[in-house]
């Protein structure tokens, strides 16, 4: 089973509209009638994805968010089912309200495509799929990459080519709006929008070319698996072992991390309870621990390596894609300023 989002070629004419800045709020208000809207909003000095109670809260001028929008598809905590004294199992309802992630950047759209692979291949995950099927992506091309962004090196930004229902590009006086799927087309139909003039596509490329010149970080992907495999026993890992606090922040903020732990919780009446899953991290000591205290990744360098090798080497054979989309969140969040792009340049002797 795969979660279907139509590719442009599967149906006729890609459609281009002009969404004037003044029509953004009315558009959001219209969408809100039928969908829960989730978008970037200001929180302190940062941005977070949150449900929009009022379209005015939306801040499309964000560079990145603390947590990726993954959190509305693969929940940080999720009840799988409840159980009762007579050992009956009651599944939690998997209906899901229709939601739109509005203003999601290209890297995060690519990350969702990777999660789709992890959760829908073999033994499809019904909890993820129920949410994914009811989630539309109104993406926003990046015009201002953040200081830690390196999606350009990985081909996951700043321009999105695929995987969206609608795609916005900020042209200054308003947005170019491109339709990417039949469901996206239904969304635009709630408004009476004028088609975009042809020149809008030229303006879009200008905006993106300008963005492309602003990247400060890059990750050289040439023969990346080969370089990493050769360097599994390099001294750099030992240095990182001493720097890294193994706090797990880098994986918690990563849009492609999918690992979770499972716990049973007993209700106060002691007669019923529920099984719950919660995000887990390979950076934490308990992750690879089994009974009698044995631990397969006791040493911190083994855990540092697991994260970086998983992202840059193992995702490829597992899911046919790199596991990093260059969002830069792990760099931003690390108190010790460990930087995956820097680790790779050091391994390359650059």
């Amino acid at each position: 089973m795969s979660v279907a989002y139509a590719r442009q070629e599967e149906w006729s004419i890609p459609q281009l509209y002009h969404l004037p800045a003044a029509k953004l709020d009315p558009f959001l208000n219209k969408l809100k009638e039928n969908y829960t809207l989730i978008g970037p909003v200001v929180k302190g000095k940062e941005f977070v994805f949150a449900p929009l109670s009022d379209p005015g809260e939306l801040s499309l001028h964000y560079q990145t968010t603390l947590l990726p929008p993954k959190k509305v598809l693969h929940l940080p905590f999720e009840v799988l089912f409840s159980f009762h004294e007579d050992q009956q199992i009651i599944e939690t309802a998997q209906e899901q309200q229709q939601q739109i992630i509005f203003g999601i950047h290209p890297c995060d759209v690519h990350a969702i495509a990777i999660l789709d692979k992890a959760y829908t291949a073999e033994y499809p995950d019904p909890y993820y799929i129920a949410k994914r099927r009811n989630t539309l992506l109104v993406a926003l091309n990046c015009s201002e990459p953040g200081e830690n962004c390196f999606c350009q090196s990985l081909g996951t930004g700043p321009e999105l080519k695929d995987g969206y229902d609608l795609l916005l590009t900020d042209l200054g006086n308003g947005y170019l709006l491109e339709v990417g799927s039949p469901r996206g087309r239904e969304l635009v139909q709630v408004m009476d929008l004028a088609p975009a003039p042809r020149v809008a596509m030229v303006e879009k490329q200008k905006v993106l070319d300008n963005a492309r010149r602003k990247f400060q970080k890059k990750l050289n992907t040439q023969d990346l698996p080969g370089i990493l495999e050769e360097n599994f026993r390099q001294p750099i890992w030992e240095e990182l072992m001493h720097e890294c606090l193994a706090c797990g922040s880098c994986t918690m903020v990563c849009p492609t991390c999918f690992c979770y732990n499972v716990v049973d919780k007993i209700d106060l009446n002691l007669k019923s309870g529920k099984r719950q899953r919660e995000w887990d991290s390979c950076m934490l000591l308990e992750y690879a621990q089994v009974a009698l205290g044995h631990n397969f990744r006791k040493d911190r360098d083994a855990r540092v390596k697991q994260r970086i090798y998983h992202k840059l080497v193992y995702y490829e054979p597992q899911f046919g894609t790199l596991g990093c989309v260059g969002c830069g969140r792990c760099i931003h969040t690390c108190v010790k300023k460990i930087d995956i792009t820097d680790v790779i340049s050091r391994l390359r002797g650059e």
Partner: protein
């Protein structure tokens, strides 16, 4: 939509105390349809739930020819497994599975079979022995080397006679013999049995399961005796929270032990960057 995380209810039909810390349970699914459809291959495992306590991966230890009632042999070491030790026939647990690939009995053109187990590691190999006995003419020489800490900790002693009668050569060893215990056999680690075994590399597949440190010495000893990494199969234990390639916990390199394993050819493990068998071999 099918929910792979939802256990099916199963009833404990019978309990056999094996050793001081290990018990064999016979289970049967309550739902008739589930019971009828359940099939497993030697080396596969189930996820066993005690509601309110948790879930643990446990190998199926009984004969695949009798899937309507199947057994798990469990060592009581932690939350789930210790709680199970307090349960009685008639009690209900949750079970889902079977998962994993299992031993390559039908995949390989195997003539001779060498089985090497340590402690609880015999549990996932017992279905192999049952199946070999059922299909005895298809195999040539079949040899089992088994080691436990003490004579009282050997699993399934009541079956040894039947195994031998089926033409399986069984060599036993124990780490130590407590005073007052009768024991005529070998004392020492399982690799000490290599001197007595008659198995040779030609046309032989080796299946081994036990603590990783034991398996690492087994593999080392076998390689020294001319066995090839391609003919040695090991069953690995890893942390597992789903059994179905979702929770990520069991990963070694690009492999999901729950799905790509738990049985791997040793040659396959050699391709992984992470050291697997305790590093004793490399």
């Amino acid at each position: 939509m099918f929910n792979p995380f939802k256990p099916e209810r199963a009833i404990i039909k019978d309990i056999i105390k094996e050793t001081t810390d290990t018990t064999t349970y016979t289970f049967s699914f309550l739902d008739e349809g589930v019971r009828r459809e359940f099939r497993f291959r030697p080396g596969q495992f189930n996820m066993l739930t005690i509601f309110g306590i948790g879930e643990a991966p446990i190998s199926i230890s009984s004969n695949p020819a009798e899937p309507e009632t199947f057994q798990h042999t469990v060592r009581h070491v932690g939350n789930v497994t210790k709680f199970l030790s307090k349960m009685q026939p008639g009690d209900i647990v949750g079970i889902r599975g079977p998962y994993g690939t299992g031993w390559p009995l039908d995949v390989l053109p195997i003539k001779n079979l060498l089985i090497i187990a340590g402690g609880i590691g015999l549990a996932p190999l017992r279905p192999v022995i049952h199946e070999v006995i059922d299909r005895r003419p298809e195999f040539g020489q079949v040899e089992v080397l088994y080691g436990a800490r003490t004579p009282a900790e050997l699993l399934y002693p009541a079956e040894y006679e039947a195994w031998r009668q089926a033409g399986i050569s069984l060599l036993l060893t124990v780490d130590a013999v407590p005073s007052g215990t009768a024991w005529e056999g070998q004392v020492g680690v399982v690799t000490d049995l290599f001197r007595q075994m008659s198995s040779r590399p030609g046309e032989t597949a080796v299946f081994t399961c036990g603590p990783e440190i034991m398996m690492s010495y087994v593999v080392k000893g076998l390689l020294a005796r001319g066995f090839k990494p391609e003919q040695i199969y090991v069953s690995l234990e890893r942390r597992m929270n789903c059994g179905v390639k979702k929770c990520g916990k069991c990963q070694i390199g690009p492999k999901f032990v729950c799905r790509d394993g738990p049985v791997f050819a040793y040659a396959e493990l050699l391709t992984l960057p992470e050291e697997v068998l305790g590093g004793a071999v490399r």
